[in-house]
Amino acid sequence: MRAMLAIIRRDLMRWRRNPGRLALLLALPLVLAGVFALAFGSGGSGLSVRVLVLDEDDTPLSNLLAGALGSQEDTGPLDVEIVGDEGRAMIENGEASALVVIPEGFTDAFLAGRPAALRLLKNPSQRFLPQAVEEALRAGAVVLSQASRTLRDELDQFHEMLQADAKPDPLVIGAMSTRIAEKLETVADYVFPPVIELEVASAGDGESADDGPTMQAVLALMLPGLAVLSLLFFAQSATRDVMEERDRGLTRHLLTAPVSVGEYLLAKCVAVVIVSALGFGLLIALGVLAGIDWGPPVAVLALLLAAATAASGLLLLLVSLTGSEMSANALTTIVVMVSAMVGGSFVPLPVLPAFLLPVSRLTVNYWATHGFLTLIRDGGGLADVTTEIAVLSTAGLAMLALGAWRLARRIRRGDV
């Protein structure tokens, strides 16, 4: 017990010594909320995020990528523009928030499976907007890398074709597309919902048919989902420590002290839940300052704890499936982004297409967001969110137990 308290105290201390990490996790959903509020709300001021795309690579694939980034017709406050070399001067003059550079050789590197980097130049005079662009790109990069891993052979072949400069053989392409389709089918369950969902997201502003909701109403609609997303980020950040500690030999060292494996893992679980709940609580407090009435405090608190438990459980379980901090990062980012997309963090649940609901109900985001919307929009009380609380806490505890059990087994086998 004494050792457990020491571990929990140390974990909290690490957060206190790293206010930057805390600020970033808090700022992220707020920036997103602000962007959405401006996009869908009627009180839009002149603020916009201007992003420039400079395609130095100039290959069919990079054109495609630049086009995809710049294609959206009406993206509200997001203004993407494809530029030439003058883009660098524009960013230096502070004419845009960020410049995304697709560097020369990007396509070659990506197709050959070598590390390929997109370059991001941020406007130094702005703080939050460039950060938001960076986070979005990072998520995109994870998806691209995953694609490169899943489709290794096909990309090699494609690469050869591009380099050969000859006319592509339709037979080869045919065979290739069949194989790609087969591979995609196996991962489709995980990958396709967000892709489809993305399209729906831009069409989802059907609500603006009336005169447009007030900023406050949009915030009330968006903030719960985004706060839940932020909760997952907190849980992700906290569980990532478990892997970091393992990779750096800190766990091995800790276990030379009079601490059992069980005590260590239980302490980690508690610390992750506390960190997640505190981060989430801070966001709720900020929401209150912004004039949002979250509902009866007891119900909010119970839901908050249940959601924090579920988020911690999900992330711990995911981490227990991976072998290193790097792979933990990749897997958790993908799962968090996908569940944010289908679970109502980006597209408010009331406008989420019905066919997505069965998938949606598998996410922590859905249950937590649904609960908070019930409290905020429908004026519900504790009795109206008991299902959500029960689902979240049961699933959360189960996932925590399973994740901790897997990690314990690994440590006992000598994998520390």
Binding site: R10, M13, R14, G249, R252, T256, A257, P258, G414
Partner: protein, 309 residues
Amino acid sequence: MLTVQGLTRCFGQVRAVDGISFEVRDGEIFGLLGPNGAGKTTTISMISGVLAPDAGQVLVDGVDIWERPKQVKRMLGVVPQEVAVYEDLTGRDNLVFWASLYGLKGADRRRAIDEALERVGLADRADDRVRDYSGGMKRRLNLSMGLIHAPKFLLLDEPTVGIDPQARLAILDVVREVARGGTTVLYTTHYMDEAEKLCDRMAIIDRGEILASGTLDELTRLAGEGDVLRVSGSFGAEDLRGKIAGIDGVEISRIGDGFALLSVVPEGPGLAQLLPRLLDGEAGIDDVSIQRSNLESVFIALTGRALRD
């Protein structure tokens, strides 16, 4: 007393530690000397209760660590090979955390921390973040964590790797001082000079097995009683044999590429007869040097390989 009996651990096909046994007596500094991959870290991990052995036993003052882990762990201080400290915390934060794990609190904890910091010379940097420490300072912090609860046994796993000679001497001094205070020390290293200077007794470990153990004198005697003559040049093995034929007390202990080691019985007539013959310039011998036997020659005698590669 720390007793290790038949300790074994495999990783897949690799027998990292293969049935080793040794004893560390109260109050001594015992060295475990071996090259990279010999199994030193694996041994320390099993002794400190982190890695379960496939076979064998570790008894600390007669208690099996795997049977009563907490009781035994309280008696051990472990300094791992890789620096295990939180970089985003200060040195003092790290020590507070570590001391709390052993149940130290309040004034006792403060005193223990100040003493440990003083001992490793970090008192003036205690409230800086570890991230801003030099490599040597991190190593010293790592060491101080192992000392904080005044353990009866201190296990050190290559605590001087990767730091400059001066910082190395400082760490060795701390270890000596701790041992003088009555702590029993198990010290692993691949630096034979450290083992020679620091350890009362030692074991030489290679490929998971203990090849020999004893005091420095006992071990060096294993390499042969006498002097070792190192002959280098472009001679052939037959030439060399011809040169030493008929001289009593001289043997070829090893022939390598461009060199050979000869052992010569001390105080015999061998050396006086041998040197002129070797240096007459006929057989392509360029150089002859005499070495006192040391741990390096012991290791070569035991394994046929040098310790450092």
